[in-house]
Symmetry: C2
Subunit: 340 residues, 2 copies
Amino acid sequence: MTVSSAPGKVYLFGEHAVVYGEPAIPCAIERRATISVEARDDDHVRVQASDLSLDGFTVEYTGTTDDRPDVDVPASLVDAAMGYIDAAVEQARDAADAPDAGFDITVESEIPLGAGLGSSAAVTVAGIDAATRELGAPLSVEDLADRAYRAEAAVQKGEASRADTFCSAVGGAVRVEGDDCRSIDAPDLPIVVGFDGGAGDTGELVASVRALKDRYDFAADTITTIGNIVRRGERFLDPDPSDPAADQSVEERIEEIGRLMDFNHGLLESLGVSSRSLDSMVWAAREAGAHGAKLTGAGGGGCIVALDPTPETLTGLRFTPGCEEAFRAELADDGVRRVA
Amino acid sequence: MTVSSAPGKVYLFGEHAVVYGEPAIPCAIERRATISVEARDDDHVRVQASDLSLDGFTVEYTGTTDDRPDVDVPASLVDAAMGYIDAAVEQARDAADAPDAGFDITVESEIPLGAGLGSSAAVTVAGIDAATRELGAPLSVEDLADRAYRAEAAVQKGEASRADTFCSAVGGAVRVEGDDCRSIDAPDLPIVVGFDGGAGDTGELVASVRALKDRYDFAADTITTIGNIVRRGERFLDPDPSDPAADQSVEERIEEIGRLMDFNHGLLESLGVSSRSLDSMVWAAREAGAHGAKLTGAGGGGCIVALDPTPETLTGLRFTPGCEEAFRAELADDGVRRVA
């Protein structure tokens, strides 16, 4: 049996604007999807999934049948998760030149589904890595990121971003601009995540931002403004030695990153992708003294990310109506991890 | 006895950005301050104020003594209201060339103090109008607006906007850009106001936006973007016959104005002038089906304005924790009104 894990991520800056060529900065967090793969002696694929949401559940699901698992999360999310696993299997078969390989696959995930934390990218990265290794054809991290991107693109009908899978495969903080993804340094960020238990429809949210941008020049300007926030943010994450930001203490740089996150959140609000519960969690974090807080991912529901080295934001979120779950998430220095 | 009333206002678009030369559109609403003035045969001024907040109170306050009224609202707000009345008396004495005129003045107001609804402008306009008429020296509406501006500027140490007093004196919707204020047409807007019972510190909020603007180019860009929203908004309030907006139904134009208000709110959020309770009321309005909702005025607390022809937003706001008071407010076609 071969076991790989891969981390989820938060967006510190730039979601939505990244679709239009602006830079963005996702950041891997220590919440992982772990995939165990065992080769079969036929060409079937059998998937057992547990803990696909924070509530947790266990299903047996055979990708080749029409059986619908009897679980406590929306069927569309389970279907989606299974779609990513199927696509990961296809990539692994192709990479190992083993078109008839069959697998028993177990998925365990600490990353809420569809909540903007990159659960699908983590499942895809860990799945391809475990399956290719099980077939004796391990991939470099770069090839893994590329194959995982192609798997996501297949499921999402070409609408995938390279950033999510790159970040999950490589770990750490990532700067993405168009198809260019690269790791950047980042201080040890005191990340706190709040989750409202829901999930926005990424496709619908991306389309609604596009409609606003097409309708209003000032919406296009707002997207450019988000890009400018990202360009400032990266200076404080990973300052060039010649940059005055490099003279600041780590604490000062984190405070500045928080202020930029606050501003970024307002602009996302203006683009119509926040929600009552997301704003409520953002305010809880700010009033608890967080350096900054914003929604992360597509929005419409799901998660916020805040920076707070004290326990206050975590406590504040846990007492906030509409916040189902709050947790501290370390920056994940490792991307894909070869567990067994 | 001479009695004048003057309306409060909401900002449909452009608060804060107006400080930097962008246009803004305040709009008078049928919530009034009513001032009764009776000349005295000495040079004293005696002020009786009632209902200076929505909670209501009655005080006797003599401007020339140090007596502090024993009331249930922050003393700073009462002092502020009295400051405007003193300044209005000074303008009336000057306009009527009666430096020693004394008055008994009664103030009744339906406009919450310091909540961004222009209570001070309404008190100042109605006060100058009633006092000048009582002295037999009535002013034109233009002169009244100008004198009221000068009174506000004296109290606010030169930081006043001409828009508030112009809007209260003239009524209706007003386009302001720099020192240029002019009336514009507006359809009959289904205005709903939600009030959180609080008040932001206008001076502090204006200063915090200035600090952001000085620190970040993207904050300056955001202010410009607000100006662009206003420029689009005025086309839908008062379309030029050659503008495609003129071909839309009033209903369609109001829906567009709502969308622009939503966007404007997000940009104000990014500038740091919203608050948890303001955002909570904005979401209540949106979820109740309002065409749009935003904070109005300086922010930090106070009021939101929403557009909804149905009773839903009013009901939604009344059930929203943090909303102390919600009311429908007709557009006030009249500005200052000569009651007696």
